[in-house]
């Protein structure tokens, strides 16, 4: 009893340290969760929270009846699934290639350059991408013209747009993604390679039997954690690159939430959509963390 009391006194500073952060998190994290209740109301910003007008599931019904809602869900899952797969494969490959490089100067230069796009915002990159892909003056179409191909309207074509999203996303993030795999590769026990050379294993055999199994836990970890992103198509990127011509193929849940909520001021409908997204994402994130814990012994903290 006495030691409990002493421990409490000793830990008072810890509670004090955490208090300011806790207040911020309650105000800007938890109170908005309570605000999700407007999904079940006919909320008007003018009437405010005082005149609640409960409408049950009307907003959800309205959403499901919207023409094109299914298409938006499909776009979101399709785009993010492609991003997740390419975001796993390409960084692993690049890390394997970088790992073979023995000249440290070269290795470091390459790393510095390929990490860089990660630190630019989609606003900037969209500015650059729009420029580079422009049908009349963009450098890509200039090159295409040089080899006799008709200019392509990459950002105004529903056929191209989802793939442009995936390619440009990879272009921005592959370098950053390699960091973790590269670290895992350098942690593989060097003596394993020496032993395999004794046994007469060539480069391919070493890669297949030592390197790849060596990074398998990290790959499993990243696969499971990426589950949580199934409903994230990448708002910043899509919002800055799309236009009404490619809504059909490029509109994702987050951009729809934005347009319904802040452009059309249908607060309740938008919140209902946000709630669906939050709940489904939560299930996927939970599943991801659970699998990561079971398969790779991963803990969040």
């Amino acid at each position: 009893m006495r030691s409990n009391y002493r421990q409490f006194i000793r830990n008072v500073p810890l509670h004090l340290m955490i208090l300011p952060g806790l207040i911020i998190i309650i105000v800007f994290g938890y109170i908005p969760m309570a605000g999700l209740s407007i999904a079940f109301q006919n909320f008007s910003p003018i009437a405010g929270f005082k005149n609640m007008n409960w409408v049950g599931l009307d907003n959800f019904r309205y959403l499901f009846d919207l023409p094109g809602f299914g298409q938006v869900v499909w776009n979101t899952v399709f785009i993010s699934a492609m991003k997740i797969v390419s975001g796993l494969v390409i960084p692993v490959l690049v890390a394997l290639l970088l790992n073979e490089v023995r000249k440290t100067g070269f290795k470091r230069t390459i790393q510095t350059v390929i990490y860089m796009p990660h630190f630019f915002s989609w606003v900037i990159l969209a500015g650059i991408i729009v420029d580079v892909l422009s049908p009349s003056t963009g450098i890509v179409n200039m090159l295409l013209k040089a080899i006799g191909v008709e200019p392509v309207q990459f950002l105004a074509s529903n056929e191209w747009f989802p793939y442009i999203l995936v390619i440009t996303d990879q272009w921005k993030e592959f370098g950053f993604g390699t960091i973790i795999y590269l670290a895992a590769l350098t942690n593989i026990d060097k003596s394993l390679y020496e032993a395999s050379v004794m046994d007469g294993a060539g480069r391919w055999k070493q890669t297949w039997h030592i390197t790849l199994p060596g990074i398998r836990p990290i790959v499993i970890l990243m696969v499971t954690l990426s589950l949580g992103n199934v409903l994230n198509g990448g708002f910043d990127q899509v919002f800055n690159l799309y236009n009404p011509l490619v809504y059909e193929s490029g509109d994702i849940l987050d951009t729809m939430i934005y347009r319904i909520g802040l452009q059309d001021a249908q607060y309740s409908v938008s919140t209902a959509l946000g709630l669906i997204k939050s709940v489904v994402s939560f299930i996927f994130i939970g599943l991801g963390y659970f699998l990561a814990y079971r398969l790779a012994n991963y803990r969040i903290f």
Partner: protein, 296 residues
């Protein structure tokens, strides 16, 4: 390993080529923009600029530096970075330290940790978040851009994992010498945590400098836009035009939008701060990030 086979040497050669191409692929678009920004608008319109300026000129930079809105937004962004990074660092460290304690010594730790982590897994979303900022009377204030993200949970996790990796003896020795928690954090933990602090500083800086969406929804008038938001509003108009789907409305916009050289130089000016900071902190973040995210 000693005598690389002929096939392996071929592989190495091709490997160097592939990696160099990948790096160039990351550089080219940025070099292209830089070249456009230093070229005359006639050359750009004619489509003759690739990776080297044509008719070298500073005129677009001169034009921008006389543009009051650009300068205001640049200033707003600088202020945001200073206030935002300071706030983020204080909250990150103050939250991470208690959470790094063992549950046996600090019983509430697990409860607190879940309270924080839960907001990473589930959120109220766009509209409720917006309404809170509005109700708090923060619209049109720079604090609307700083307070909602004041506690970056991901950085807290990086920091607390780093703190946890520090030897227990350090803390015990500090306690023997009569230091309390605040003293231990300040004089023992912080000085040896510089690599991690550099990492989260970089993340916070880049995050605040690049953030544009909150500026767009929380600032009622464009005068209060930070740089990224201002650029976004400029470039969005160009996106419409570039995709060559102009309506009459867009055509009137076009007449107000400055040309590509100006856009390019604005883009370039806005990435300079990142280009300046990034190489210095890079060696830290690779280490810091790996320590934080890859655990046994």
């Amino acid at each position: 390993m000693h005598h690389a086979s002929r096939a392996y040497r071929w592989f190495l050669g091709i490997n160097y080529v592939i990696l160099t191409l990948l790096a160039l692929l990351c550089l080219f678009p940025i070099v292209n923009i830089l070249a456009i920004s230093f070229s005359s608008s006639d050359a750009v319109k004619a489509g003759s600029v690739t990776f080297w300026p044509v008719d070298f000129t500073f005129s677009s930079y001169k034009y921008i530096l006389e543009n009051q809105q650009f300068l205001n937004s640049f200033g707003t962004s600088l202020l945001r970075v200073v206030l935002g990074v300071a706030t983020n660092l204080i909250f990150t460290i103050l939250v991470a330290y208690p959470l790094s304690k063992e549950a046996a010594k600090f019983r509430s730790r697990t409860f607190y940790a879940w309270v924080f982590v839960f907001t990473m897994l589930f959120s109220g979303g766009l509209i409720p978040g917006y309404l809170i900022v509005k109700e708090a009377g923060l619209l049109d204030s720079i604090w609307a851009l700083i307070l909602p993200g004041a506690v970056p949970i991901f950085n807290v996790l990086l920091m607390l994992n780093f703190f946890r990796g520090l030897p227990k003896e350090l803390e015990e020795a500090a306690w023997m010498d009569g230091a309390g928690h605040f003293r231990t954090l300040w004089s023992i933990y912080l000085p040896i945590s510089l690599p991690s602090i550099a990492t989260i500083t970089l993340f916070a800086m880049v995050g605040h400098w690049n953030a544009w969406f909150d500026g767009m929804i929380y600032m009622k008038s464009p005068e209060g836009y930070p740089l990224a938001t201002y650029l976004q509003s400029m470039l969005q108009q160009v996106t419409m035009i570039q995709s060559e789907m102009m309506t009459l409305e867009d055509a009137t916009l076009l007449s107000q939008v400055s040309d590509r050289t100006t856009q390019a130089s604005q883009i370039f000016l806005s990435v300079i701060p990142i280009l300046l900071v990034y190489p210095f902190l890079q060696r830290y973040f690779v280490h810091g990030l790996v320590v934080g995210s890859v655990k046994g």
